[in-house]
């Protein structure tokens, strides 16, 4: 089954430490994870190889050669395509941008495997290293790797740029030295140009744990030798690598005849990490009706009394499945259950457990089951199935039941009345963490604290909710770096919010949800929408229940919030601390969005519109999603702000990573930890953050998401 899905983070703020799962779980992977190099990609010691990690592998690496520290996050995007994001800090580096002698840089790599290894043929890959931005590590390569005998591999390749800097034997045109834009744009004017040099090496693994490596490098480390303390004595490096039981690997090397190298990588994989099928208890089995009982309509003479006793039994039965009955409507041959799912990340599992409870509680003549999942009081879809199919297919492959289930729009299937009376109040207190990365003064700052959230449902689709946060320990308030912005300071004033807001109200909004027409969903939010902005936000979403495509529109009217994060509002005017120039933040921003599930787990989103600073443009997002709630993606925003106006980085871009809580616990959960890793947050292409956007709420109960989680229908 394909794997497109999104599990809504019900309490996006609650998700705190799920990211740490990463480091601890590791995983038993069936395919072998190759050795990583000090750049955090599959390779030898400092050089790349043509190997690919198993599909969907996420590698978290630390590497060091000489004074250069490299932290990398790599992702095997498809079996033949991988990408790496790296953050580098070179110590003792003489550069105007160095802070206390440390030069920081971010880089992106991609690698494409052109040929897979066969018995006779080596694997062949082509790659771009540090291909965006200033290109400190910029280099391109074509490389081949062949396994000669079990455990013995040879790698040989040709490098350009940095990888063609030692002992080059040919030159292909001129390699540009100019930095395009303000950095942060692809360095296409350099690729595969300039000197070409050869590199290669051998790796030998006598057993599963140990690997010995010998490498001939085509990198002469000219920049590090010139500006830092590097001493290139020899092109040869060698070392050994140890693989731990959880697949983590540690390599130690003697490099370039004069220095030491180290590599530590934690691979994990959304496809193989976690408890298969989960640890949760069994659902109730289907109760097959006695033969002939289906024609007994005697109970319909007192429909109301039957319905009342049914409500009670069903509420109790669903509670044992950790589901909530909103209401049930009984007809002689059909029944509709409105359902709230606070528990299951896989929508099909919530539907399956409810259907089984229905077989045990409904009168025998009821043949048609309709389950209407409800989010924020709004019916999301109508899942219709036949009771006799449930009885017949309980012990068959789950797809058999899927083929006999229909998912349609639930417009006008609003609940008759909630069984649990309004208003409803819920609250929670939990820890949180927040971070800020890539500040040269302190590459990673973290706050740990306590968050208190509450939600007050006034009536079915009208919710007042908010969250307040108090830091316990942390250093986010110590950000001191001020940089000039040529735009209204819509995001670059973050440090003032971090400094003065403790405690702060993260959000406090009154949200109204609606179904204005078939296939249409609406939201209106008023209040403190996010940490930096208050205002009004309205959204409509068009999403047919069986469609891979959704379209949405959002319009916002914003007021800048006071730095202390409490109730105060400021004028929409910012003053640049460097230039002293006052600029206006426009009151109105908004986007038109298109969402499309391509299949095979790939999901695309395009948002076109006006951003916070008044710039117009579009954000492109491509995500690979997994049925269990993991997702890895990347986005880039292009607006009418010029590269000079935008400043460092040239345009807004970043990486998205979502890890479901259930990976760590093995228990079902709708909570997903979502992180956005931005190499730099500037004021161009900045979008308002609204936590209650519709798409994820709606798609959970639509195709193709329901089908993608259908394996859990009988779980």
């Amino acid at each position: 089954m394909a794997a497109v899905t999104a599990h809504r983070a019900k309490r996006a703020g609650a998700v705190a430490a799920a990211g740490a799962v990463f480091l601890l779980t590791g995983s038993a992977q069936s395919e072998t994870v190759p050795s990583y190099n000090t750049y955090g990609s599959p390779g030898l010691i400092d050089m790349p190889s043509a190997e690919m990690a198993p599909d969907a592998t996420i590698g978290l690496s630390y590497g060091r050669i000489g004074d250069g520290n490299r932290a990398a996050l790599s992702f095997q995007i498809t079996p033949w395509l991988s990408g790496t994001f790296r953050y580098t800090g070179i110590e003792n580096f003489d550069h105007p941008a160095s802070v206390d002698g440390v030069y920081y840089d971010r880089s992106f790599d991609v690698r494409v495997q052109l040929l897979r290894e066969t018995r006779l043929r080596p694997a062949v890959a082509i790659g771009l290293q540090d291909f965006v931005g200033t290109g400190l590590y910029g280099g391109e390569y074509v490389v081949a790797t062949k396994t000669l005998a079990p455990g013995l591999k040879v790698t040989g390749g040709l490098g350009w740029g940095r990888l063609g800097s030692y002992n080059g034997f040919a030159t292909l045109g001129d390699r540009s030295e100019v930095v395009l834009g303000e950095g942060g744009v692809p360095t296409y004017d350099r690729w595969f140009r300039g000197d070409v040099a050869a590199f290669g090496g051998i790796s030998w693994s006598p057993n599963d744990k140990l690997t010995f490596e010998l490498e001939y490098s085509s990198d002469d480390y000219a920049l590090e030798s010139e500006r830092g303390g590097f001493n290139h004595e020899s092109p040869y490096s060698f070392g050994a690598q140890y693989r731990f039981d959880n697949n983590a690997q540690l390599g130690l090397y003697y490099a370039y005849g004069d220095t030491l190298g180290v590599q530590l990588t934690f691979p994990t994989n959304p496809k193989t990490t976690g408890v298969p099928g989960g640890l949760e208890v069994a659902g109730v089995p289907v109760k097959r009706r006695a033969p002939g009982s289906a024609s007994d309509l005697g109970w319909t003479t007192d429909l109301e009394a039957t319905e009342r006793s049914l409500e009670q039994r069903m509420t109790g039965n669903l509670e044992r499945e950790q589901l909530e009955l909103v209401n049930v409507e009984l007809r002689p041959r059909s029944a509709t259950v409105w359902l709230r799912n606070p528990t299951y990340g896989a929508s099909a599992q919530a539907i399956g457990r409810t259907a089984r409870v229905m077989t045990r509680t409904l009168p025998a003549s009821v043949e048609e089951f309709v389950i209407v999942p409800v989010e924020n009081g709004i019916p999301m879809s109508a899942v219709t199935m036949k009771r006799s199919d449930l009885e017949a297919l309980e012990n068959d492959a789950a797809v058999e039941m899927l083929a006999r289930t229909s998912i349609t729009d639930a417009y006008r299937r609003g609940t008759p009345e909630d069984l649990v009376p309004f208003p409803r109040f819920s609250w929670e207190v939990a820890p949180y963490f927040d971070y800020s990365g890539f500040d040269p003064d302190m590459p990673l700052r973290i706050d740990l604290g306590v968050r208190a959230a509450a939600s007050y449902e006034i009536r079915r689709n009208l919710v007042l909710s908010g969250e307040i946060r108090k830091r316990v320990i942390g250093n986010l308030d110590e950000i001191s770096r001020e940089s000039e912005s040529l735009l209204p300071r819509v995001r670059t004033d973050y440090r003032l919010y971090a400094k003065e807001g403790d405690p702060f109200i993260r959000n406090l909004t009154l949200d109204h949800y609606g179904r204005p027409a078939p296939d249409l969903y609406s939201r209106l939010s008023v209040g403190y929408l996010e940490r930096m902005y208050a205002g009004v936000s309205g959204e409509v979403l068009w999403k047919p229940a069986d469609s891979r495509l959704a379209l949405g529109a959002e319009l916002n009217y914003v007021r800048r919030r006071a730095y202390d994060g409490l109730f105060g509002l400021e004028e929409n005017v910012t003053v640049d601390p460097v230039s002293g120039i006052e600029r206006d933040i426009p009151d109105v921003n908004g986007h038109v969005s298109g969402y499309y599930a391509f299949g095979n787990g790939f999901h695309g989103q395009v948002d076109v519109g006006r951003y916070l600073a008044g710039d117009y443009g579009a954000t492109f997002t491509l995500t690979r999603e997994f049925a269990n709630g993991w997702s890895v993606g990347a986005f880039a925003t292009f607006t009418d702000v010029t590269e000079e106006e935008f400043g460092e980085g040239s345009f807004d871009k970043g990486i998205l990573l979502a890890i479901p809580l259930s990976v760590g616990t093995g228990r079902p959960s709708r909570t997903v930890s979502r992180q956005t890793i931005r190499s730099l947050q500037r004021d161009g292409g900045a979008r308002l953050e609204v936590s209650s956007r519709l798409y994820d709420q709606v798609r959970t109960w639509h195709e193709p998401d329901v089908s993608n989680t259908w394996g859990r229908f009988w779980r």
Binding site: V275, L279, D396, A397, V429, N628, L661, G666
Partner: protein
């Protein structure tokens, strides 16, 4: 006296402080479905439920005197866990057995066709052909399919080719089940999973009274003995 009281007060206050800190760290809510996020830091695989230990003869006597429903014993040697389950539901030939911990095993004439709540569950199987040979105590070659969920929650289908043969005849006297049975051996292979050998003890009426059945890499072999039919 005053000092002692003061000290007590101070300790009380520091205790309250600690409690407050602890509760803040643990997290709390009026929501019955609230999840404590930091749980996610400890991987589930490290916190699998304690092995439920050995089933005592006493426990078997108790359960058999408490119910007239079919009762079966299950053991998962790889996990060192055992359980007694009572039949709670029947759907045509499929019988579902469960324990109070809400784990369940579904069997067809004593052949396990699915489990729930054991972690790494067998979700379903295509056992028709294999079951026919085993119940008929006949030799032959059949196809047998097991379905599992991967950690990604995608269904993994493993198709086996099994050779089935009858072995010795044995007498069975476990719990309240006394019968003579034929031992059946099924040796299965698949390109998608490890090979295994299942044993079934089949009564003259074609019911499996005891077995050792492979339920996939996560559960390994599971032993079943009917204690009451």
């Amino acid at each position: 006296m005053g000092t002692i009281l003061a000290m007590n007060l101070r300790t009380t206050f520091s205790r309250i402080g600690l409690l407050a800190l602890a509760s803040a760290l643990i997290g709390c809510s009026n929501d019955p479905y609230f999840e404590f996020p930091v749980q996610s830091v400890v991987p589930g695989s490290l916190r699998q439920d304690e092995p439920s230990g050995e089933i005592t003869p006493q426990a078997i006597v108790e359960i058999l005197s408490a119910t007239d429903l079919p009762v079966a014993f299950f053991g998962v040697p790889d996990r060192g866990s055992q359980a007694l389950m009572i039949r709670i539901e029947q759907n045509r030939p499929y019988e579902t057995f469960a324990n109070p911990e809400r784990q369940s095993v579904t069997m067809r004439h004593g052949m396990i066709t699915g489990t729930r709540g054991l972690s790494g569950d067998l979700m379903s199987s295509e056992e028709e052909a294999l079951l026919a040979l085993v119940r008929g105590r006949r030799a032959g070659q059949v196809t047998y399919v097991q379905r599992y969920l991967t950690p990604e929650s995608v269904t993994k289908v493993v198709t086996y080719r099994c050779g089935v043969e009858p072995d010795a005849t044995v007498d069975i006297a476990i719990g309240l089940v006394q019968d003579s049975a034929t031992e059946m051996v099924a040796a299965c292979e698949s390109p998608d999973g490890p090979p295994f050998v299942d044993y079934y003890k089949v009564s003259g009426s074609g019911e499996i009274l005891a077995s050792r059945q492979w339920l996939g890499k996560n559960l390994g072999y599971v032993a079943m003995q009917m204690l009451q039919r």
